[in-house]
């Protein structure tokens, strides 16, 4: 009961936030929070480090961007199409990758992502280095004008809530319990009769689809799909967000994404821009050395120690 009050308060906060803060910034936070949450489903709850997750973010973005620019479909359909494309790619890549473990899993996902990066760099429909520029936001269901930032914000917020709810639901379902069992002790899960690879694969597809949804939404917000979203640096960034926020926690990726996006936003303006790599690097080092459970993980520890 207490938890749900907390959740209602958070949703309420989300509803009033754009009245105070710049809506596009908030939308960016939400997109990355969804991306990191999707990634965390794999890293935090199955124990699989994908080092190529940007490919799904980018795929969603490119497909949505292309369709919005060339077919005149409505934005909700554009996002669905982008999500579906990422899910299909995830299904193929997941099939190949889940057979491998640990560092090999990370390397296979990285290599597969690099192959798609090449496709997006060379394919004529993506605009190469320029990306897809001037993607129209369109009209939601054909009558709500999304070029208005406020309308767009509430649409993005709804998408985020849907994605976040799905992840939460997955984690707490019996399916999610099996995933956690696999993370803790894969051999035991196998011996209990679970087909471990199938479970991993389904989790991979869900994660890829939601990452794609984040990418599709991001493309609409910024009216742009570009190579940044499929580059391996982006795959590294989502690891950083998840790690900083607290992997394996529900709210960790959100906190991590919000922190990183805010830092980037703060640093990108003005003199400190020079130091962006240095500061990101230091965050990585400090996280690994001192806060392996991340911000939310550490807070949970403190709560546990003091209140229970």
């Amino acid at each position: 009961m207490k938890i749900s009050k907390f959740n209602i308060a958070l949703v309420g906060l989300g509803l009033v936030a754009p009245l105070v803060l710049y809506p596009v910034f908030l939308m960016k936070v939400l997109c990355f929070a969804l991306f990191a949450s999707a990634f965390n489903l794999l890293l935090g709850f199955v124990g699989l480090l994908s080092f190529g997750h940007a490919v799904f973010l980018g795929t969603g973005g490119y497909i949505t961007g292309y369709l919005m620019m060339n077919t005149g479909i409505t934005p909700e359909l554009g996002i669905l199409a982008g999500t579906a494309a990422a899910a299909i790619l995830g299904a193929v890549y997941g099939k190949l990758a889940v057979k491998r473990e640990g560092i090999y899993f990370a390397m296979v996902t990285l290599a597969l992502a690099q192959l798609m990066f090449f496709v997006y760099l060379q394919a004529p429909f993506t605009g190469g280095e320029d990306g897809l520029q001037g993607v129209p936001r369109g009209e939601l269901f054909g009558f709500i004008d999304l070029s208005d930032n406020m309308n767009m914000y509430y649409f993005v917020f709804a998408i985020f809530l849907a994605g976040f709810w799905l992840i939460n639901r997955t984690v707490h379902s019996p399916f999610g319990q099996v995933l956690k069992a696999i993370r803790e002790n894969e051999a035991r899960a196998t011996s209990l009769g679970y087909n471990v690879n199938d479970y991993k694969w389904v989790a991979f597809v869900i994660s890829a689809a939601l990452a794609g949804m984040a990418g599709s939404t991001k493309t609409l917000v910024f009216q742009l799909a570009s190579l940044t979203d499929v580059h391996w640096h982006m795959s590294g960034e989502v690891v950083l967000m998840t790690l900083l926020g607290g992997m394996g926690t529900i709210f960790g990726p959100f906190v991590g994404a919000a922190t990183i996006v805010s830092i980037q936003n703060f640093l990108s303006g003005g003199e400190l821009g020079n130091y962006i790599h240095i500061i990101m690097g230091i965050i990585f080092i400090v996280c690994v050395l001192a806060f392996r459970s991340g911000i939310v993980g550490e807070i949970q520890k403190v709560i546990k120690r003091n209140f229970s």
Binding site: V24, D130, L224
Partner: protein, 400 residues
Amino acid sequence: MKSMNKTLLSAAMAVAMTTSVAHANVSDDKVKIGVLADMGGVYADVCGPGCVTAVEMAVEDFGGKVLGKPIEIVSADDQNKPDVGSAKVREWVESQGVDVVTGLVASSVTGAVTKVTTDNKKIALIAASASNAFTTKACSPYNAHWTYNVVALANGTVKPMVQSGKKKWFFITADYAFGHALEGVASKVIKSEGGEVVGAVRAPLGTTDFSSYILQAQASGADVVGLANAGADFVNSLKTAAEFGLTEMMDVAGLLVFTPNAQALDPAIAGGMKTTTGFYWDRDAEAREWSARFKERHGKIPAMPHAGAYSATMHYLNSVKEAGTDDSDAVMKVMKANKPNDFFAKNAYLRADGRMVHDMYLVNITKESERKTSDNIFNIEKVIPGDQAFAPMLPECEFK
């Protein structure tokens, strides 16, 4: 009757507009300039913190105030990513009251940013990008493309070489929009002068080892190898060309050479090579005076985008003053009506399509013996009048 009404109405509107101009009409009581540049990436030395310095100098030289209102500068790093750059500019114009955006290096970023500025009716002063798209297929009444473009580079460097009998060309091209555009424009020039392109190879951006491409160039039987790339790609490809003896077999033409790139090369390798630039610090007393001030603040001599950013900002501020408002349409009208004239802009005018036409310079890179100080990078060979350097205007881009 109807037409009569219309005339009256437009007359009334015209009167209303001129009166509003007469009052100092400055949005949010300040003029805010956004400088978007590459602060720490491959183009940082070309238009990064230096472009911010140049704009600051322009604002200070102007007096820090226009129409009695303060001039503010904000700057940001675009990391050479179109998404980062356009997001920042969107934030600037939508929530921070930025009136004009300058800097603008990587063509991909500029493309994305000019979409945002045009949608919001804000002026973009493009100081460092090379693509000619901003005054052709992506032209906009709010673009002012200041320093140079790929057409000027090709006309300046390639044309005289073909005319002097170097007919067969091979290109080593950076495999992205800018490289393709540069190769395309240069190939057109070569063909129209009766030359021939015998081959081209597309090297991925950021290639470290060019030896494979150099061998292909050697085997092509060309007279000239054109390097349609920039920055580190240019430096690395030229270095390798010299190492493999290519420079002794055929001519090498660097199509885009910024002064910091030339400084990064051994004069024994680069000395004598011809290229085209929009500015050189040692051209005349006026340029030297400004460049000395720039160097004192920035630590390095200015590259052409730095001078371009200063000149564009100065012309913008002068135009705001004359227009009596910072309304973009009114300011742009004045910018196009008045000719910029400063240490950078010689025989210059801002064309209706947003192209700033001005003198370009065919230069060669100094040899060891000519390099009295490490700042003596170029010898100016020839002044190329603007109308010969830049392509004629497309009719569909003729904005009033």
